[in-house]
Amino acid sequence: MRQRSLIAITAALAAGALTLTACGSRDSGDKGSDSGNGGGTTVVIGVDAPLTGDLSALGLGIKNSADLAAKQANKKSYVKGVTFKIEALDDQAQPSSGQSNASKFVSEKEVLGVVGPLNSSVAQSMQKVFDDAKLVEVSPANTNPALTQGDNWQTSKARPYKSYFRTATTDAIQGPFAAQYVYNKAKRTKVFVIDDKKTYGAGLAATFTDEFKKLGGKVVGTEHINPDTKDFSAVATKVKNSGAQVVYYGGEYPQAGPLSKQIKAAGAKIPLVGGDGIYADDFIKLGGASAKGDLATSVGAPVETLPSAKEFVANYKAGGYSEAYGAYGGYSYDSTWSIIEAVKKVVDDNGGKLPSDARAKITEAMQNVSFDGVTGKVSFDEYGDATNKQLTVYSVENGAWKAVESGTYNGS
């Protein structure tokens, strides 16, 4: 009998402990649905980027990040009754391919928004196609000012297309920011300017040159390169003979890496500076050991200083994507999410359903979209440009990009 009492007491205590434990509330982690299915209507978000070729490292990061945003929205059932789907097309960094892709997206009625492209020159070929169809386009990477502020943006700004938006900062800020750093901080007063003759590269080189001269700097030489070649020895020799203290290159990393290497090999031990187009790990691979000390400006603040980016980085890793999200991953996620927000607004305003003129309504709603994204506060000004204008200067150190200066633009 006594033994039974002892057992009973112990059992009662154990049961009590287990009951208390069971009653305790605790975070179970993910409470959302794993179905990835948000509801009955499917909304397709198109993605246009270079998925093959030299720039595919950046393009695939854009595609994957857009895919992640759509999956997150579906997982959270962010827009009731709507499932988002990504359709990605390869523009191979060619304007003609971009235009064909734009026409294809326009012809598919389920496509209610497009993320992309990477290249400003490709964007130029797509803008009118989208605008005629009132199909909204949000680029995570285009930096040429004319896309939002018109060809005469330096003298009179005029928005050419109301359906075009971007989350990246423009070269109207990026070029001068680089010039200020090179002249004032790096103390280099003689520059040799090279570009690839493309919309992005030539535009960025021009905004850099303009500010560099205003600061008192001297341009000791200029050259254009053919982006289809990798032999820049003739240009490298000209740089060596010019007495330049620094080279500014307007273009992208597939050419910038070999160009940097060949300039140093020619005997000019001077840094090469570029924009977001060279801010890629592949630049360092192509440039080799002599790329040490080369500089790049890139849009946005360093990811490690953005608490909002941590979740994106973790989710991207968990998503199992085989390619890195790259320089524009966060911007691509935010571009996609801005379309999701615009769809949500339109659906909510229409009693939970998409209206018959959904494309036009979504384009209209985009102008007032505002949310806390991966890259900070996401909203657009009267030209369709991002209101969040941050830039960072990176330097190649120990085989990796390291942030050395960060700036915030406030034009108000």
């Binding site: 208390l20 975070d27 920011f177 500010e211 205003k214 008192g216 200083t305 960060s406 406030n410 108000s412």
Partner: protein, 210 residues
């Protein structure tokens, strides 16, 4: 009457005696000893068992208690601060020749207070002073106006036509200390250019900028 009666002991058999039973069931004897010990120390044993059970239960509960998520870290100071050019101001009294003043606003958008520890500018021919003097603290929701007075030391080394001049501000909050460049836009660029042209074009005298 047929029936089976009690089996009687036959040859080679005998009724078991009490002590024989005990001898066969030796373990029973041990139990009896334990029972006796338990009987003698019943209260102590019970208390020990209860204490052990409570300790085990408590330990389990503690180990598996619902964990509060850590509070979100405050934002980096550069992500929490907005700086904007306001307008020109009368030159600060007692300022040296070739000086001019202007006002900027500093707003902490969110998070803990931010301390401005240093304000500088990157151009070789200029230096500046700030009122209030750094370091000073600004709380979220209470924008602060800062008067900056620039002094030209070498007219040959000033940016008379810079498109996007900026101020360099060192910020500190509970998260980190950061140096951030604030590019104050076209109005600031225009103001700076005009002020520098007047300061350097009119010789070594105070530039009264209003």
């Amino acid at each position: 009457m047929s029936g089976v009666g009690p089996v009687e002991p036959g040859e080679g058999t005998r009724a078991r005696e009490a002590h024989d039973t005990d001898a066969v069931r030796a373990p029973g004897r041990t139990r009896t000893r334990l029972t006796e010990v338990y009987a003698r120390h019943r209260r102590a044993a019970l208390a020990l068992a209860v204490a052990a059970a409570v300790l085990a239960g408590g330990g389990y509960l503690y180990a598996t208690r619902p964990k509060q998520p850590p509070p979100p870290e405050p934002p980096y100071p550069a992500q929490a601060v907005e700086m904007a050019f306001l307008n020109g101001r009368p030159t600060a009294p007692g300022a040296p020749p070739r000086s001019f003043s202007f006002e900027v606003s500093l707003t902490v958008l969110s998070g803990p207070p931010v301390t401005v520890t240093r304000v500088t500018q990157p151009y070789a021919g200029l230096w500046l002073s700030v009122a209030p003097r750094a370091p000073f603290r600004t709380k979220a929701g209470a924008p602060r106006k800062i008067t900056i007075t620039m002094h030209v030391t070498d007219c040959g080394k000033v940016p008379k036509d810079a498109g996007l001049p900026f101020l360099e501000v060192t910020l500190r909050n509970a998260r980190a200390m950061q140096a951030q460049s604030f590019i104050l836009g076209e109005r600031y660029a225009q103001h700076l250019s005009e002020a520098l042209q007047v300061a350097c074009g009119n010789g070594p005298r105070n530039h009264q900028n209003t």
